[in-house]
């Protein structure tokens, strides 16, 4: 039974990521599940409610390819480079389709994932103070402390239908081990109805480490072996972030044509992530 947890990525996406669902691909700069994002694009999913603290290139690509109806996020830039041009084009010009924004702060999204993981209906924080954010987003409200009377910001819990992560390794029964920068990965994983994890390696036994970050098999829905699955982001102790690619992306994504051409050649035109990486290696 547990061995059935390890499946091909295309099968995991086809089975669990259906049009219109709320999907979170998490990983804060580190371990961004690009392979899974590309497979969702290949399978031409539509009307997704995408959730991610930092949309990053992976959502710039999915939004530009028309997969998304709505975006829950807190910082939508290309780190250290500038804009996410496809995200901007969707917001500023509704291309290729309009995008609803559910905009928060990092602290707000993080708290909402924690509330989701705990199956509480909302999260509270000392946040959104003295800003226009609460006016811009009706999903930012307030709650009163029953002891002190103080008012605190409240945001609804985030419970994605599907959370997708990338990690270093999993064993054959579906236990997943992660290390390095974890962002809100664990909370996003625990908040989800379905959890899909792509990994660099499948091992017979996870390295024993009492307090290591492990997602136990009974939390994980499906595991897909996907080496390089976080490229061009990185995997601690496997490969580093391709900062040059992040810089190149600015020019690729700035223009609708060059973006479509690149996506056709590198994502739609590649059978899977291995083919995508092979194509980049050939071009290098």
């Amino acid at each position: 039974m547990s061995t059935r947890k390890v499946v091909p990525l295309a099968e995991a996406i086809a089975t669990h990521v259906r049009d219109g669902l709320c999907v979170a691909l998490e990983g804060f700069t580190h371990l961004i599940p690009f392979a899974a994002g590309h497979e969702i694009i290949r399978q031409r999913r539509r009307d997704l409610h995408l959730v991610r603290m930092t949309p990053d290139l992976v959502y710039d690509q999915m939004i530009g390819m028309g997969c998304a109806r709505r975006l829950t996020f807190s910082w939508g830039g290309n780190p250290g480079v500038g804009s996410l041009h496809r995200l901007r084009d969707a917001v500023e010009h509704s291309w290729p389709r309009p995008l609803e924004l559910d905009e928060h702060t990092h602290a707000g999204v993080a708290a909402a994932y924690c509330a989701g993981a705990a199956r509480l209906p909302f999260a509270m924080l000392r946040g959104y103070l003295g800003t226009d954010l609460a006016d811009a987003n009706p999903r930012v409200r307030s709650v009163e402390c029953p002891f002190t009377g103080e008012r605190l910001a409240a945001v609804p819990a985030l419970n994605p239908d599907v959370t997708i992560l990338h990690a270093q390794r999993a064993d054959r029964s579906g236990n997943v081990a992660v290390h390095g920068i974890v962002g809100a990965q664990r909370e996003a994983a625990l908040a989800a109805q379905v959890l899909i994890v792509t990994v660099e390696e499948i091992v017979d036994e996870l390295p024993p480490a009492m307090n290591a970050i492990v997602l136990p098999h009974w939390i994980v829905t499906a595991v897909a072996h996907c080496p390089g699955g976080a490229y061009p982001s990185y995997v601690q102790d496997h490969y580093s972030r391709d900062n040059a690619f992040y810089q190149r992306w600015d020019a690729i994504a700035r223009d609708r044509e060059t973006f479509r051409t690149w996506m056709d050649a590198h994502v739609l035109g590649c059978r899977d992530h291995a083919a995508f990486l092979a194509r980049l290696r050939a071009a290098a």
């Binding site: 910082w75 939508g76 500023e92 990092h106 924080l125 003295g130 954010l133 390095g180 900062n243």
Partner: protein
Amino acid sequence: MNDWTRDEIMTVAAARLLWDGCVCFVGIGLPSAACNLARLTHAPDIVLIYESGTLGTRPDVLPLSIGDGELAETAACVIPLPEVFAYLLQAGRVDVGFLGAAQLDRYGNLNSTVIGPYDAPSTRLPGAGGATEIAAHARRTFVMLKATPRSLVARLDFRTSAGFLDGHGARARTSMRGAGPQAVITDFGLLTPAPDTDELQLTALYPGATIDDARAATGWPLAVAATVETLEPPTALELDTLRALQARTREAHRRAVRLPA
């Protein structure tokens, strides 16, 4: 003609505001350079926190992203992001937070969300990220941005992060515990809040910069302190350390990444 660039003197001026041992919430770009310059010069025990959860990190090169592996590898420890915001920042354990923005107003309020109306922006900016809660909870914040009449504005298009709100003690009357922006480091010098009104005023100039330069670069009638200090030029140590750091960083970011097989 100065033998330093605008970015260099802004970085040096910011680094000098930091003290040894202070717990500093670092942003990417100039703040990251300033914090690491301080660490490599007068503040070896400064505690650098990046919102990615890397605590006490000592990067050899500046990260391009807030979560580069370099930060994790050189950190005292790496913790989940929700804890960074709840247990460290919100808990008031951060001494200094750095902020940048597209727009700043005279009370130090910041906009990094949109130019134009929120629902139909002419320019969609990245948004709040960690800034809103850094602005609220860090014991003090330092703002770094390049001055133009389009960045130092009379009126923000959107308030993403709170400075002194409408001034005159307005911030102190909220539940925000941080003291707010104590300095704006910009390309002619420093703005600091006036005690009573909280309005930013010119209190220091870089060598060679003038009050007229400052006024010309500011989109509101800029208040000028009774005495305007002229900052010391960058020392040779400061410039050499910063340039070596930048050179290491350019070299590292140029290095081609081996594509995973």
